[in-house]
Symmetry: D2
Subunit: 270 residues, 4 copies
């Protein structure tokens, strides 16, 4: 093995600044210390840095190392102490990356699932519910800012108030899927669980993995007492989110209409 | 340019017969003469042949040529005369392939969308409905057989009879998606439109792209008069399909439950 | 049938403006007159309008009607005359919608495939290539602006210059996928074909559906003569796009690395 | 709350046996004791039973309970002792289901990710690699059989031997994805890790998440020393699988060609 050429350090023919260069769709093991207990999971990572005009490329392997070393056995103690949330974990990756690769902007994104135990409405059993969540940390030295983006996707339902008014209480009902995204300062304390609660309480009814007949009846009754357009769901989510959370808020609700082949959508932001 | 090596014709180190080798996810233009009118569309193709033990590989470009030549301007006349269905088009591709590449087994698969005009239930307007369809032709010389597989996917709905019985006529309703697949002799005449009709009439109600308020009311009333488990939908599809179509039948119904985050499924075959 | 209630016109309990309410994932037939010839295709539509604070909802069926009437037989003449591009078609839908439903903001989005004939590099055959395209028209009365968004996705490849420098000309090569998006004034003339050309010419080599051995050799030689990082591809696309097109430009290149299970990404904007 | 109607127990109008009725796309927490250590993960479940001609439906909540109870705290001890593999966990779910719901046929399917530490070829670092795996247990009382299906999907690469022969050692290289599926008796001992090894060693080279420059060079060299058609990969997998594993074997390899927009495929079975 002779000399190693570092093509990445060369000056490129075309000089254009690149904002986000890195690795995406990387699946690996991660660990966090959540409420005092160590959790292991297998999320999907995206990690990027900027590339200045005069550099041809980045050293991709250093990005991978920043992820894997942050989770390694050697730092098990650090994990237990520090990584108490996805954003803390991501910041630890950025801190490691700062020592490995120069950059002005860095982003780390994690997509995973959150499991929350919910009490069913009548039998009061605990039903474990799964939610898609995504958390990103964005460090931008030129702005002198450390921001984060928190996103939860929740499955609920809509019972149409228009059809209900025109059909003596009968109506069409369907699964609806809502996403709440908040971009805010890194230090802003926002729990993903609270975001899930804001969204889940804004449908005609929440949904449950386990429903005994008495629970199913309670959910059915609740949907009819609480008819909502997809517009109503979006309005309720953004209204509650503005009251509880500081930051830029984006809401997107899609209803998988039971009477159409297409979906209906309501989207708003603040 | 010197000699061209035909690596495909070499004897492979490991001798194993391969049943299906070819091209998949190829998107290109296709034309059929449907009821006297020339239609152009952009389906997704898969085309495969078998490889005997003593050959290393196949000449992939000949498969692509078989598709593109079959659709070319040079054969516009042939198109108008012969390709009156997706399976006729696929057989024309296989006929062309027979002259280009030796094989014992050949398959051509097309995935595309079928648009059918449906009358809405009350306002009697025409609503254009889109269906996912897939058609494959399988030629197997060792069996001396030419077969085809026809598949339609239809979006409808289910209104739960169990919740209805337990909630004084109220119930949960949701979008449901059913697939009917038939494997039969190539010469068996089965129209995709008839398969769509069998599936669409087996839900609590069909769905429509365009619904005025009076139509929406008719669909809502129909769903409540016609409550069905996902099991009922599957049973009705296979029952009707057995009466109308000859061949091996597979039915799969998935209901996107409005009260759960998961789906329910009913599957059967004959 | 008695009175029809228009629940949509009621004042909602929670007053929040919604920016985008409407229909998504609607698949139906569309027609355009492209270079003097009438083309029929089956795209996916999204159409949304804004909802003011004091209205509970929108009349979704009027959005569907705006799409279907614009494409109907009755206006076949209009189609031939006017809809010479996806954005002209979308504007015609918005014009129709203006008479049906009050709004301040309206968007129509179409996703479909573009087929372009390309000459292969050595045998000079015509190979039909398919590209994913998306076009949106955004009318915003409060800004007094009519804008459009044009997006093309092109499949090419990257041959790594770093591995090539360190392995005496050998390197890893892989499929790469690049998206170019331009947001600009409605009247700005930008052809999707020109956007495809900008992207396709920025990879290590373009890709082709049909390649005879001599063409395959030409593509292989070109990839080795033209090694590129995913960063180089992104830089070349944005550099060319800035020279040829007016508007806000976004470039995203993903390389499906052949030596890793994950992808690498380069993204930039202007 | 009055009487509860059990609509599921009624006799359906249409009498047709259904082979697979149940729940799909259910995401929840699962635990296994793997080599003496307790692992928690969040897989996707499908669980189905058959429905005889004379029953209208099944009690879906009993299927959910069979899953959740099997994983509950109350049986933590049982988990530690018994569930040493995905198929053992699935059999425990079926055993629980037998007490809850009569049936002749039952299936439990789990989709999840397997993480295996691999040594990189030159720097000898440990790189954690993720693989998609799916395991199903099928109990069929009419056949008196308990079977399982094991499936692994592995990402590797192919370097084309035909282009290499025609371009003085240069060739096109690309990511390839192979799936090996084995259907066998429940008691047959087959480790998913061994299946991964069979597939991963059959590409031109394995892929790695972490590659330093010296490792990257080793992978590049290996790909050129080991050129393979997608056909060669499929042949090598089935050849090795037949030697190491008992059961019905299915192999499917898809190569994401770097010179085409489409994929090539090789599939075989035994």
């Amino acid at each position: 093995m002779g000399e190693i050429f570092e093509t990445q350090e060369e000056v490129p023919e075309i000089k254009e600044k690149l904002h986000r260069v890195g690795i995406t769709n990387l699946r690996t093991v991660a660990k966090i210390n959540w409420k005092g207990k160590l959790y292991t999971f297998i999320p999907t990572f995206e990690i990027t840095i900027d590339v200045p005009e005069e550099k041809k490329g980045i050293h991709m392997s250093r990005l991978v190392e920043s992820i894997t070393e942050t989770m390694s056995e050697a730092v098990e103690e650090e994990v237990s102490r520090v990584h108490s949330s996805l954003e803390e974990l991501e910041l630890a990756i950025i801190k490691r990356l700062e020592k490995k690769h120069p950059h002005k902007r860095a982003e780390v994104w994690i997509k995973t699932h959150l499991i929350i135990g919910k009490e069913t409405p009548a039998s009061k059993k605990i039903s474990l519910e799964a939610y898609d969540v995504e958390v990103g940390v964005i460090k931008d030295e030129t702005k002198g800012k450390l921001e984060k983006v928190l996103k939860v996707t929740v499955i609920g339902n809509t019972a149409c108030p228009h059809a209900m008014a025109n059909n003596q209480g009968k109506t069409h009902i369907q699964r609806a899927i809502a996403t709440l995204e908040i971009q805010t300062d890194f230090d802003e304390e926002i729990a993903l669980e609270d975001m899930v609660e804001v969204v889940e309480s804004s449908f005609s009814s929440p949904t449950y993995t386990l429903l005994k007949t008495v629970d199913e009846n309670a959910v059915v009754q609740k949907m009819y007492q609480n008819p909502k357009f997809v517009e109503d769901v979006a309005r309720e989510i953004i209204f509650k989110a503005k009251q509880r959370f500081k930051g830029r808020i984006h809401v997107r609700v899609v209803s998988l209409e039971s009477i159409h082949k297409h979906d209906v959508i309501a989207e708003t932001w603040y």
